[in-house]
């Protein structure tokens, strides 16, 4: 373990630097310009909505659709979040109820032997 600390430090530094790079790229490209290109401004207004929904799919990507319980816990919990958020419009409440339902479902109705 001790002999490995240099490798660990290097590995951490690489992960940190590459992560910073991915986050900095748009700023490196466009941050220095006085006037942003029209297309970039346009993308800045429309892209977030597209990205956000892609992130939802990204979060659910490991849901097993072909084996029991066929994504049902996720489907039901997503539905509950949508309904609660429509009615209550309270982010906190929507997250708690949805996550609560999900945690109950995977322990009861849809328990998969582990």
């Amino acid at each position: 373990m001790n002999a490995d600390w240099i490798y660990t430090l290097e590995a951490l530094a690489v992960v940190a630097l590459v992560t910073i790079l991915t986050r900095s790229l748009p700023f490196l490209f466009f941050g220095g310009k006085k006037e942003l290109p029209e297309t970039v401004i346009y993308l800045g207004t429309v892209l977030p909505a597209a990205i956000m929904i892609i992130l939802v799919v990204f979060c659910l990507r490991n849901t097993g659709l072909t084996t029991y319980p066929f994504g049902l816990p996720e489907l039901l919990s997503v539905a509950l979040v949508i309904v609660v958020h429509r009615i209550g419009k309270n982010v906190f409440l929507s997250i708690i109820t949805g996550t609560g339902l999900y945690m109950v479902l995977i322990r009861t109705l849809f328990m998969v032997g582990s």
Binding site: R23, G31, H85
Partner: protein, 249 residues
Amino acid sequence: MMKSFVFAFKQAIPVFFPYLFIGIAFGVLMDEAGYSAGWSLLSGVFIYAGSMQIVMVSLLTAGASLGTIALMTFFVNARHIFYGIAFIDQFRKMGREYPYMIVTLTDEVYSILCSIDYSEDVDVRKTDFYITLILHLVWILSCLAGALFGQLIPYNLAGIEFSATAFFITVCMNQWQSLDSHLPAITGLISALVFYFILGPSQFILPALAVSVLVLIIMKSRSKSQKKQLGLEVEASLTEPVEEISYEC
């Protein structure tokens, strides 16, 4: 200043759950792999990327080469390249805090900043900075707590990771209500689903993002040329030409 801080804190709260859960999970993994709490702390401070930190544990224990690690990190985090586009002007006005805002732009911070509805009595710049700082601290503490006390938690928090999904859904819904055009969201959904079913869970996100960008740019130029042809002063409508394009991807 106090008002901005309280407002920022309220905006940040929904993300506390996913951060706590993922941070603790990371700390526990590091601890189990034999790395002392200091490494978890360092990762939380300087990497600050949830899924990547968890991937990193397996890379570390496998002794992966630095080149492999760099490549892996790039692919896991490449989605971040698309985030800054919306904040170039907003961040560069921030002066001293500009670089900090860039390197801490996580999925969750990005979604809060995209959907935030500033109340009138707060300072936008300060609020953005406080949200970012509060969440960074929560993340660091979560990583550390996992490494130090993770073993003590009666560890059956399984399923709490759904809080991240729930959070992003609420952001989507808030945006859906506040935006005039739903086409960007629909474009994102279709391209995500299409690439998910073609390429599978681990590879769909980059093509989905890239194609969304392309489709949105095409929509813009089409609606422009249509306007010219018709000689009409249509307000930024991206409507007609879209559906056929969406199906192509």
